[in-house]
Amino acid sequence: MEKPLDNMFDYYKHTSMFWNDMISMMASKPASLTAVGPLRNFTENIKKISQELIESNQEIVNFNTYLMEYYKQLGETWADSQKKVMSKVSEIPQDAESTEAYKRVWIDMFENDFTQLFDTESFSKNYNKLVSTEMQLLKRWNTIMDIMLKSANMPTKEEIDEIYQELFSLKKQIKKLDSSKKRRDVKNDS
């Protein structure tokens, strides 16, 4: 099942990339002739954004697969628990406390079954693949935003991260200097 799908995606990706590059190259001459400054940048950005979108297709499919599996796991567990509760209902005495008893059985049964599900390796693996794919998609979105921010002359995520890193190491250095100064002062005082 996975192989033909992969091939289909490879074919689709290759074709899309081919036309994306071709159109961009074919348009480059007229664009540079007619464009003044940022407009040229704009056509370059469109190409890069299209590339990111094409690359993300496989991830979108993966994300949907993992998401479907996630809901399937939850749905099946829900159905199983409900069946178990229904089989217990006949044992609950029909008196004033029956509502409370039914609620207790329902909660205990669902709690138990769902905890068992969350404890399984298959849940953990699928859930983590789901989150990981979501992160990859978010990364693509960040890249697209970075392309747009760059063309608007604004700092990108990567550049902001560099500043954070720089500030972090500066703060560390200052703290180190501060504490060595303190130690020296104490030594001089004594």
Partner: protein, 355 residues
């Protein structure tokens, strides 16, 4: 043909009460975010970056000389230790004549995403303890760590044993491979590198997800049903609102610390396997030679007893005590049970080992 259905009167009564409570609720109770959570007074005596150290005002005329510094967890905030006067861990310690300090790790921003174990243990925790030593004119303090704060306190005690007189580890996360909770099941396959690379700090939303898979029906449905049924019970409502507010106020976790946590503790189990390095220093639990008190709860669904107990067997101390309580993660520190069973043993243990 007549169709007869009989509905129990009490069901109708409960249903009407429930509806009445929903309609009257806004006029009868406080707005949740305005609820005050702390009951004991304190001064903020030390601040560094986002962190703060609180010093609680004494409740006795005489206190033992060795102060107790509490390293709270990196998930949620410290308020749970003092959320209800009758169940307050802090109040109980103060009433026993112990001088108490609490480290509030604060709310990290994007700028703090590079903070890891090294900064938390060798900078923040060390600076707090230095400050307490200066204030109290002592060389050593008693150090208590709760949950993930217990791990930080353990690592600190291994790297700076000369500054710790007694170590109290309350539900510490030590042996990730032995942890049987759903949290560790998720953590074992977690792609933490991509997460931190993309989002920086670990967002509270993900932490809420982890909470939601712990007892989802008891905590997600039954708790709220009970709340609406108990609106006439002022004590219950107050306690409920405080706990809800506490649960909803979890800060993000610095990305680097979270990465080191998931990989080092849950995936590679470095601390328990004696392979952990913090700031280029080897963290050997054998270096912990001061008296150690390990507290675990049988019903702990966040840190299972199997995960915490290895600390007791791995430390180099001769004077060590392991107590296993039939309660849960929060029940061990903020319940009537803890007031009656956990704290008396602990305060006695600290007092007999302090100046």
């Amino acid at each position: 043909m007549t169709l007869e259905t009989s509905v129990n009167e009490s069901i109708i009564g409960d249903f009407l009460n429930f509806n009445r409570n929903i309609a009257e609720i806004p006029s009868r109770i406080s707005v949740p975010h305005e609820v005050k959570m702390d009951t004991c007074e304190y001064d903020v005596v030390y601040e560094e970056d986002r962190i703060r150290m609180l010093h609680y005002k004494p409740l006795t005329s005489k206190q033992i000389k060795t102060p107790l510094v509490i390293s709270y967890a990196i998930v949620n905030r410290y308020h749970i230790f003092d959320i209800d006067p009758k169940k307050s861990w802090i109040r109980n310690l103060l009433e026993s004549g112990i001088d108490v300090y609490m480290i509030d790790w604060g709310t990290p921003t994007k700028l703090d995403k590079f903070l890891g174990f090294d900064e938390y243990v060798n900078d923040y925790l060390d600076n707090c303890i230095e400050d307490v030593c200066d204030r109290s004119s002592v060389d050593k303090v008693s150090l208590q760590g709760y949950c993930t704060g217990g791990t930080l306190a353990t690592v600190y005690s291994a790297l700076h044993p000369e500054k710790v007189k007694n170590l109290v580890a309350t539900a510490p996360v030590i042996d990730g491979w032995k942890d049987t909770t759903v949290i560790s099941n998720i953590a074992k396959n977690f792609d933490v590198d991509t997460m931190v690379d993309v989002v920086g700090n670990m967002p509270p939303e993900f932490i809420y997800y982890c909470f939601s898979i712990l007892k989802p029906f008891e905590q997600g449905i039954e708790k709220y049903l009970k709340f609406f049924q108990n609106l006439d019970n002022e004590k219950y409502v107050n306690s409920f609102l405080k706990i809800e507010k506490w649960l909803a106020e979890t800060p993000p976790i610095p990305g680097e610390l979270f990465k080191q946590w998931i990989k080092g503790i849950y995936q590679e189990n470095l601390l328990a396997r004696d392979k952990m390095f913090v700031g280029n220093q080897h963290v050997s639990l054998k270096n912990i030679t001061m008296p150690v008190f390990t507290q675990v709860a049988v019903g702990d669904h966040l840190v299972s007893p199997e995960c915490s107990m290895p600390l007791h067997y791995a430390v180099g101390s001769d004077d060590k005590n392991l107590e296993i309580y039939p309660t849960g993660h929060v029940g061990m520190i903020a319940s009537s049970y803890s007031q009656k069973n956990v704290l008396p043993t602990l305060t006695k243990w600290i007092k007999t080992r302090s100046d």
